[in-house]
Symmetry: C2
Subunit: 325 residues, 2 copies
């Protein structure tokens, strides 16, 4: 599919045309000029989908849980878009994620659109790509957009900031190390799931979470509920969907929700600037004689990187008044 114009592309996507959306996403992947023009036309039509972030450590069963949620929303007649963030390797082309197999049951459902995004080689573009794809899925008319990420690093935290509601999936029997990570995710979780809660230690995991919640310096407007599930047996998924619905309701009525939306917008704008500047500077450093010379001087420790950064910025920006896309 070729687009005659950005407007034609946007119209097709707004009408829910899957091929047009897939084509735009490939253009975004390949950074083809004009992709941003289409996104700009779509943006006024976004904000209708409920954007759900699901994150958790490897082995927490979050992919199975995601598949269960997709099934539940499909029974409610909702259209579901899924963005699966893959920690994949350039060697394998992202093909080895056995986990994604659990979503294959929806491969032939025209009301479910699943898109994978590899984290590797993103050169800091991961949160931009996430935002872009969520905008497309939203503009296509999906009622629910699910972003699934592995892990709870800063990267994943940045990604889930894109979501309205973030579900953090944990499992019983976690060590000290995980306790630490739990603390890091307290901030981002709107809902906790203790999955595999038929295992020993489920009560303790719930208790640990409640204990961590009491460490918070002030009582939040929304205290994240802790939902027990056994995703493999489809247990607790209704309760999770109920908790998600309650959080959506909370967002619609809370005075803090406007601040939250603005915070998210500021983060997205800052991310766009950061990534486009980085890309421009990186290109200048690696692909121009002057840039390569500067890098060699820093490597030889004749120029320090702080001065070099000033130089690179001064050299790059005047030549790129239109940094974006």
């Amino acid at each position: 599919m070729r687009f005659a114009s950005s407007q034609e592309a946007a119209d097709a996507i707004l009408a829910g045309n899957v091929r047009a959306a897939a084509r735009l996403m490939r253009m975004l992947d390949d950074r083809i000029d004009g992709a941003t023009d289409v996104l700009r036309l779509l943006y006024p039509h976004t904000g209708r989908a409920m954007v759900l972030g699901i994150t958790g450590n490897p082995g927490s069963g979050k992919s199975t849980l995601t598949a269960r949620l997709i099934g539940l929303y499909r029974k409610q007649g909702k259209r579901v878009g899924v963005l699966a963030i893959d920690p994949s390797s350039p060697f394998s082309g992202g093909a080895i994620l056995g986990d994604r197999i659990r979503m294959m049951e929806f491969a032939n459902d025209p009301q479910v659109f699943i898109r994978s995004l590899a984290t590797r080689g993103a050169l800091g573009g991961l949160s931009r790509s996430t935002n872009d794809i969520v905008h497309v899925l939203d503009a296509m008319g999906h009622d629910v957009v699910i972003i699934e990420t592995v892990g709870v690093g800063q990267d994943e935290i940045d990604i889930v900031r894109t979501a309205d509601t973030t579900v953090v999936v944990l499992v019983p029997g976690l060590g000290d190390d995980i306790q630490a990570i739990k603390a890091g995710i307290l901030e981002i979780a709107d809902i906790f799931v203790v999955n595999k809660s038929d295992l020993d230690g489920a009560d303790r995991a719930v208790g640990d979470l409640r204990g961590l919640q009491t460490l918070m310096s002030e009582m939040p407007d929304w205290l994240p509920p802790i939902v027990r599930t056994v995703a493999a047996r489809n247990e607790g998924v209704d309760a999770l969907a109920q908790a998600i619905a309650e959080h959506t309701q909370f967002l619609q009525t809370s005075p803090a929700s406007q601040a939250r939306a603005q915070n998210r917008a500021a983060f997205a704008i800052g991310g766009l600037v950061r990534e486009s500047v980085w890309r421009s500077v990186d290109t200048w450093l690696r692909r121009t004689d002057a840039g390569r010379e500067l890098v060699a001087e820093v490597t030889a420790r004749r120029v320090d990187p702080y001065l070099a950064a000033q130089t690179a910025l001064a050299q790059t920006l005047p030549n790129n008044p239109q940094l974006l896309p």
Copy 2:
């Protein structure tokens, strides 16, 4: 301790003064003006330390392994600096990492300098902070600088790019999910450690790793060795140190090492620009009337974020000709 001048501070740190180094690190944390001036004076004196990155999933025992390596290097009479990246929470002040206790045995050793760095709230500044602290530890005269991070997300990968040699620690008995992550870390590992190799499944873990290595499209100059350890019993640590020494030797003789150093320098320079631009833009968006108005327009979907990013960049940079520090 107060510094009368940047030169005085740099001289004290170059002489190995621990209090001066700690003071500079606090200045860097608090983004106090002048800290970068000191770093610039230190930079010509860096590049002497062997910088070792150690990463692995929670529960892999990498902190114990790090402690064992510190002990080994101390026996060789080397000064060791450690930068421990904590996925800590602002709620806890980073105090709950029980793992770090394993390094406490070196708390009174004046030849070991341990610094923690919290990942939370870094606003993209984590790789800059890592670089800065490594420069300080290097300039102080540490023979070995160890950067320890948890996890293998993009963030950790960025951090270990600072290292000369990166050790990835795995344990036997990993599920599908971990297999995927392994693929992502193939690129960054110079040495693999299968820790807890007295557990069932150690042979399989080693076999899996070798299998993944065969997926690489071309044979690298350096094929990462796979070292078995039982850190808790101090087994295999000599072999690991030997593998590290061999990689150091390889770097010194390989024609690719200059390209690697330049790649790292370009990455560091780009990171400095990216983070300083982001900080400036973020401040403009959140702390000025015009910035807040723009964010509100984007939130209301009357302005799209791509145009807003252009505006924010145009508004920010002319007002901040000196973006750094």
